[in-house]
């Protein structure tokens, strides 16, 4: 089975059938925002949601991840490679799935990161297609993440009374086969899905003032653009833009020794290029001393360096960095200013 149909009324019982496959995490309302949280009952979730404060990244690349135990005297270290339990991410938007695909590339690069890969192996992704913009901050059409392009086990498309199911893996197949209330998609359903998709595409337009080819060129020429000075003057250095990014993967490694002063735990914790001392070295030099240089670095990491290294844009268009910025630094505006290149020469 490749495509299937489930009635909206049956979503609750399908959700219940997933429970014995592992812990389920889904989007939930928190004050004026949304967050991924463990979900017990289907009704707890808000499937109509704008991107969560933190991306689901926290489940496969946690904020603070235990790595190993060590002893100082006599010196010994525990096993660094760990096993994890099955878990399901439910209702993940295509932009966040694109984020997972970026992380896959990074952590698969040699030497591969076993902790990430072991976690990833236990992860089941049930995606949820967006049929319209979540809000004005998203730029998913520009980077092409408004449509699904793999990286999930199941993709759900809301067709009103029912959901279309796209099965994209063996794991996904196991979650839907043998259920009486899930039927294979027929020609009529397929037509309905195609029509919904066409309608959807009409709503999405490139948010940038130029195609990716022009953006490549703008980044090539734009290293000394006054755009970065402007960002540097407005940025408060709170680091929120990097904290909420689904493709930021920098981390620091810290040792915490217990009070007996002999046993310790090693952790990896998120670390950001927007931190004041991120590029400071022991001799006192700071390779990116200004907030302008740090902001520029962030943009180049998303639109140029990652293209050179992995042939991939590391911006998923989720809009989180713009949404979270208290200085109202907008990714779309920055890119468009860079594209205009008015002052850049």
């Amino acid at each position: 089975m490749k495509y299937a149909i489930i009635n909206r009324m049956d979503m609750g019982r399908w959700f219940d059938s997933l429970k014995d496959r592992g812990k389920i995490y889904g989007p939930k309302k928190k004050e004026s925002a949304y967050v991924f949280r463990p979900i017990q009952e289907f009704e707890e979730m808000s499937l109509k949601y704008i991107p969560t404060i933190l991306p689901p990244k926290k489940y496969y690349f946690p904020q603070k991840e235990f790595l190993l135990k060590f002893k100082i005297n006599p010196f010994s270290t525990g096993k660094a490679i760990r096993e994890f339990e099955e878990f399901i991410l439910f209702g993940v938007h295509t932009c966040d799935i694109a984020g997972i695909q970026c992380m896959d590339v990074v952590f698969n690069e040699k030497p591969a990161d076993p902790n990430y890969l072991n976690r990833k192996e236990k992860m089941t992704i049930i995606g949820l297609e967006c049929m319209d913009y979540c809000d004005k901050y998203a730029s998913c059409a520009a980077v092409g993440t408004h449509v699904y392009k793999g990286g999930y086990d199941i993709m759900l498309t809301d067709l009103g009374d029912e959901y279309a199911i796209h099965i994209n893996s063996e794991k996904g197949d196991k979650l839907v086969t043998g259920k009486k209330y899930i039927r294979e998609m027929n020609a009529k359903d397929k037509e309905k899905l195609n029509k919904a998709f066409e309608e959807k595409l009409k709503k999405f337009n490139n948010e940038f003032d130029g195609d990716m080819e022009r953006i490549d060129k703008a980044f090539e020429k734009g290293f000394f653009s006054p755009v970065w000075k402007d960002l540097g003057a407005r940025c408060v250095g709170c680091t929120n833009c990097t904290a909420v990014c689904p493709t930021c993967y920098c981390f620091d490694v810290v040792d915490e020794v217990s009070l007996n002063l002999n046993d310790g735990d090693r952790y990896r914790v998120w670390n950001y290029c927007q931190m004041d001392d991120f590029a400071k070295v022991s001799t006192g030099e700071d390779f990116r001393a200004g907030r302008d240089a740090r902001q520029r670095h962030r943009y180049y990491r998303k639109f140029k360096y990652s293209v050179q290294k992995y042939n991939k844009y590391f911006c998923t268009g989720c809009g989180r960095c713009t949404r979270t910025c208290m200085a109202k630094i907008s990714l779309v505006e920055t890119i468009n200013q860079l594209l205009s290149g008015k002052e850049a020469k």
């Binding site: 928190k30 004050e31 004026s32 925002a33 967050v35 404060i53 933190l54 926290k58 904020q63 603070k64 540097g232 003057a233 407005r234 940025c235 408060v236 250095g237 709170c238 680091t239 929120n240 904290a243 909420v244 915490e256 020794v257 217990s258 009070l259 007996n260 002063l261 998120w270 950001y272 931190m275 004041d276 001392d277 700071d286 001393a289 200004g290 907030r291 302008d292 979270t324 208290m326 200085a327 109202k328």
Partner: protein, 256 residues
């Protein structure tokens, strides 16, 4: 075979002793700590007082000539000095005294009598003696105090985070106070408290002191954007970030 346990003494100066209370409230962790150190002086939890110690934990700021001399005397016996709590590390709330000339403040508080003839301008501990370790906050955050004590005992430095509270707040996935129309000092305040106040729905009040390079201009822009007046903003900063060290940081309009 085992080395003698280092002796630790807690002394308080001008303050509320709330930070010592935080230490007393550590519960099981305090008992763990007591296994590796000898606590020889700690007014809030013990009646006897020892005269000798290796590690001196100072709480409170220096507010009189007497304080100053006492601190120097106490410090001279210690191998390591830990400043504990905002009063000790940055002067804390006591800095409010320095906003006006001493004579004027005394008159406002005591009227025509002067019960503290030796009062001086408030000083943080490091304006009088050398400080090796800082535990910021009003009050201190218990888990950070334990982390600092581990570093003291292992003889390694403790690096106070140089990034703002936002880092921890965002990792805790709190809804930003600015989003709720509140004014929060998180973006310019040193982290290390695990965004203690925002986790409970309150805003950061800046008790840990400013980060080394607060983006002063950008911050002012934002506050004005959110409809706050310059006076209102300064009021918020005055509570904790009014000491000499803090003022110097905010004064430098660096691009860093």
């Amino acid at each position: 075979m085992s080395k003698p346990k280092p002796k630790v003494a807690f002394f308080e100066f001008t303050d509320c002793e709330g930070c010592q209370l935080q230490v007393a409230n550590l519960g099981a962790s305090l008992l763990e700590l007591a296994k590796v150190v000898d606590i020889v002086n700690f007014r809030e939890i013990m009646s006897e007082a020892g005269e000798e110690y290796d590690v001196l934990v100072v709480e409170g700021s220096v507010a009189s000539k007497h304080d100053e001399e006492r601190l120097k005397k106490i410090a001279s016996k210690a191998k390591v000095i830990v400043a504990m709590g905002a009063c000790a590390t940055i002067g804390g709330v006591n800095n409010l005294k320095n906003l006006k000339p001493l004579a004027e403040q005394k008159k406002a508080v005591y009227g025509s009598v002067d019960p503290v003839p030796d009062a001086i301008e408030t000083k943080s501990i490091d304006e009088v003696v050398h400080v090796d370790y800082y535990v910021h906050g009003c009050p201190i955050y218990g888990p950070e105090f334990l982390k600092v004590m581990e570093c003291v005992l292992l003889g390694k430095p403790y690096n106070v985070p140089q990034y703002p509270v936002c880092v921890e707040c965002k990792q805790n996935e709190n809804v930003c106070a600015y989003e709720k129309g509140q004014f929060c000092l998180g973006p310019v305040t040193k982290a290390g408290c695990n965004s203690w106040l925002p986790n409970y729905g309150s805003v950061c009040v800046g008790c840990r002191g400013l980060i080394d390079n607060p983006a002063a201009d950008a911050q002012k822009d934002i506050l004005q954007k959110y409809g706050l007046t310059v006076e209102g903003i300064l009021d918020k900063f005055t509570l904790y970030c009014n000491g000499k060290k803090e003022r110097a940081k905010y004064g430098k309009e660096s691009q860093k």
